[in-house]
Amino acid sequence: MGAVVGTLTMGERTKGERRRPSRDKIDDDFELSIVCHRPEGLDKLEAQTNFSKQELQVLYRGFKNECPSGVVNEDTFKQIYAQFFPHGDASTYAHYLFNAFDSAHSGSIKFEGFIMALSTLLRGSVREKLTWTFNLYDINRDGYINKEEMTDIVSAIYDMMGKYTYPALKTDTPKQHVDAFFQKMDKNRDGVVTLDEFILSCQEDENILRSLQLFKNVI
C-alpha cells in the first residue's frame, strides 16, 4: 500500500489542487482490493469537457469525498439512486445507468468517465445528448433498440415509482408506454429503432427539444 503512494510523481500543480498522472494501482502482491485512481490533469479535463475549472474542482471534491478510491462501482450507484428514489426500487434503472456511464465495461467508473458523461448530458449539443440517451436504451449495444430492451428500460423506470401511485399502475402500463414510444420513433416500422430514427424523431418533437435544455445549469 505504501508503494502505491510513494511512487507517484506530482503533475503540474494548480492553486490548491493536486492532480497526478492517472494510474491504476492494484497491488497484486498483497491482494488488496483497494484501487486507487487519480484523474488526469485539471487542464486536460477542462479542455475535454464543457466545464470550467471551478466546476471541475467542485465536482471532483464531492466525488473524492464520496469515493476516496477514485472510482465508483455499481453498488454505489444503486445506493445513491435508492436514496434519491426511496419510494420504489431503483436498482434496475441504476444498473442500466451504470452501464451507460461505464462505456468501457470495466465494472467501475473513474472520474474522467463520470465527468465526460456529465458534460455531455448537461452541456453537450442536442445530438450528443440524444446519442447518449440512445446508448442508455440500447442495452446490448448492438445499435438497435428493440421492444424487449425498451420494455426493460421502461419497467425499470416505473419500478422507481413504487407501488403507491395515482392513478394506480397496471401491469400493462409499461407495455402501453413502449408501444407509444415505438409508434413515435420507429419510422420504418421494422420493430427496431436505430440511432438516426431516434434522433430524427426526437428533433421533431418540440417538447423533447425544450426539455433537453432544462438541466443546463445543474452544476
Binding site: 471551478q54 474542482q57 467542485v58 465536482l59 471534491r61 464531492g62 466525488f63 469525498n65 464520496e66 445513491i80 439512486y81 436514496q83 434519491f84 445507468l97 451507460a100 463520470f114 458523461a117 456529465l118 448530458l121 448537461l122 445528448k129 440524444l130 447518449w132 440517451t133 442508455l136 436504451y137 428500460i153 421502461v154 423506470i157 408506454h177 407509444a180 414510444f181 420513433m185 431516434f198 426526437c202 417538447n207 423533447i208 425544450r210 426539455s211 433537453l212 432544462l214 438541466f215 445549469n217 445543474v218 452544476i219
Partner: protein, 635 residues
Amino acid sequence: MAAGVATWMPFARAAAVGWLPLAQKTMPKPPVDKKSRSDEILFVNVSGLRFQTWKNTLDRYPDTLLGSSEKEFFYNEETQEYFFDRDPEMFRHILNFFRTGKLHYPRHECIQAFEEELAFYGIIPEIIGDCCMEEYRDRKKENQERLAEDTEAENAGDAPLPPDATLRERLWRAFENPHTSTMALVFYYVTGFFIAVSVIANVVETVPCRPIKGSIKDLPCGEKFSVAFSCLDTACVLIFSFEYLMRLYAAPSRCDFARSVMSVIDVVAILPFYIGLVMPENEEVSGAFVTLRVFRVFRIFKFSRHSQGLRILGCTLQACASELGFLLFSLTMAVIIFATVMFYAEKGTKGTTFSSIPASFWYTIVTMTTLGYGDMVPDSIAGKIFGSICSLSGVLVIALPVPVIVSNFARIYHQNQRADKMRAQQKVRQARIRMAKKGATNAFLQHKEDGGLQDGDGDSTPLCVKNRSAFEHQHHHLLHCLEKTTNHEFTDEVTYSEVCVTDSLGFRTSRSTSLSSQQGATTTCCSRRAKRRAFRLANSTVSVSRGSVQELDTLHVTKTPAGTQYPQSRSSLNARTENLKLNCDDYTAAIISIPTPPANTPDESLPNSPAIPGILRNSRSSTFNTQETVKISSL
C-alpha cells in the same frame, strides 16, 4: 438523506435526461438557483480556533445549524467569519462529521458535554458511526444510571416531610429511614439488638450445659434453663410482632408490603412461635413442630434491614440469577454423567459403597467440589481413572461462572459505595455553594451601606467607588427598585436583632405564622439538621416580606418563650425587613431554607420606627443562632 447524496444531486439530475424521450408530458421547470454555485471557503472561528471549510461541506447536512441559514446568526461582519463561543476541541469532531459523513465519539470527553455540543449544532447522536456507537451507548447508560441513583436517593432519603403528614406517613418514614428522627433510630437499634439476642439464644440453647445435680447426662442449656429461654423467646417474638404490625399499619400500600421479601421473612420468623401456641401437646404433631423451630433461624435475615452488605449480596444473587442457573445446570449434568460412569465402573467391586447411581451422586459432588471426604472411594482401576477425571473437571466447571458473579457483585458494591459517598459529599458541596452565594448577595447590603443608593448622587461619594462589574450595578439597581416598590428594605441579622432589642413593645402577628414557626422551632435547634428541611410557610401573612431575586438561602424562624409567638421569618440577605414592634426577648433560631417565592403583605399598619432606616449594619458572618429582629414598615 445522507450527506453524500447532496454531492450526487447534479449527477442524478443529469441522468434524468435519459427519461426525456420517453416522457409523455412536458417536464416541469427546474428550480431557480439564486445563489452563486461557485464554492467558497468559509471561516469558522470557534473560541479563537479558526477552522476553514468549503461551503459545500457544510451544505451537505441542511438540517444542522452549520448547514442551514441558522449559522447566519453567528456571522461576524467585521471579521467575515462565523464565530461560535463553544468548545473548540469538540468542534473538531463536529466538523469532521461534515467532512466525512461519520460522527465519532471521542472517548476522553465527558458524554454530557458531547451531547450538549451535538444538541447545539443540531446533530442527532443516533448517527454516531458503528465504530463508536457501543462506547457511546455504554457510557451514556452508565451516566444515566448514576444520575438516576442520585436523584432517587436524594428524593427517597432526605426529602423532607410536609408538615401536614399523617401519623401513618410519619411512621413509615421513620421505619424506612431511621436516621430521620431520634425515635426511629432508637427503635432501629432496639430491634437490631433483639434480633441478635434471639439468634444467639437459639444457638446457645442447644449447647450442652452441666447437668443438674444428681443427673449424669449432659443437658442442652435450653432444657436446663427452659423457663429463661422461653421468656426470652416470647419477648423477642412480641417485639417482632409489634414491629411487623406497626409496619403493616404504616405501609402506604399494604398489599405490596405484605408481598415484599422483608415482610415474608418477618412473618416466617415469628410464625413458629404462634403455631406452637396454637398447637396441642400432641406427640405426633410436636415432631412437626420441632421442625418448625428451624425457621427461627430466619430471624437472622432480618438483619438485612440493618446491613447494607447483606442487601448487596441479595441484589447480586438476583442479578446473577442466570449465571447461577447455568452453574447449577452444568453441575447437575456433570454430576449425573460421572455418577453413572462411576457406578458402572465400580459395579464389579465386592462390597462397594457405590450401591446405586443416586448413591454415586454424593461421591461425585464431594469429588467435584474437591472436598474429598473419603467415605466413598473407588477401588477398581477404571473407577480410579474416572474418579480423577471427575475431580479435574469439577474444578473447571465451578470456576467458569464464578467470575461473572464476582464481577457483578463488585459492580453493585461499587455503585452503592459511590451513592453513599455522593450523598455525603452533596451536603458539603451545597453548604459551600450557599456560602459563596451569600457572599455575593451581601454585596448589595454593603453597597447600600456605602451610600451607593443616594438618588442621583452616586458618583460623588468616594465610598461608592468600588470594583463592581456592570452586572453587579444592574443587579443592585434591581434590588433597589424592589425595595422602592415595596417600601421595605433589605437588612441583615445583626441590625435586625439590634432593632428588635430596642423595641420592646409586644405585638401580635398573625396566628398562622406563629403556628408554622412553632413547628419550625420545635423540630430541632441543631442547625445542621435544620438545613435539611425545607420549611414552607404557607400563609406568611406576617410582618416579614421575603423578597428574593435569588434563591433564599436561609430563613430564620424565631420564637419567643414568653407565650406570645412572634414568628419572624427572614432571609439572611434578601429579605425585606419591616418595622415591627415586637417582644423579642429570647430567640431560638432554626435555620431553614425556603425555595418558595416571596409573598407577603403586612397586615398591620405600624408606625415607622424612626430609628430604623438609619441602622443598616451589615454583617458578613452568618451567625444563625443570634437574636434577630424584623423590621416592618407599613405600605
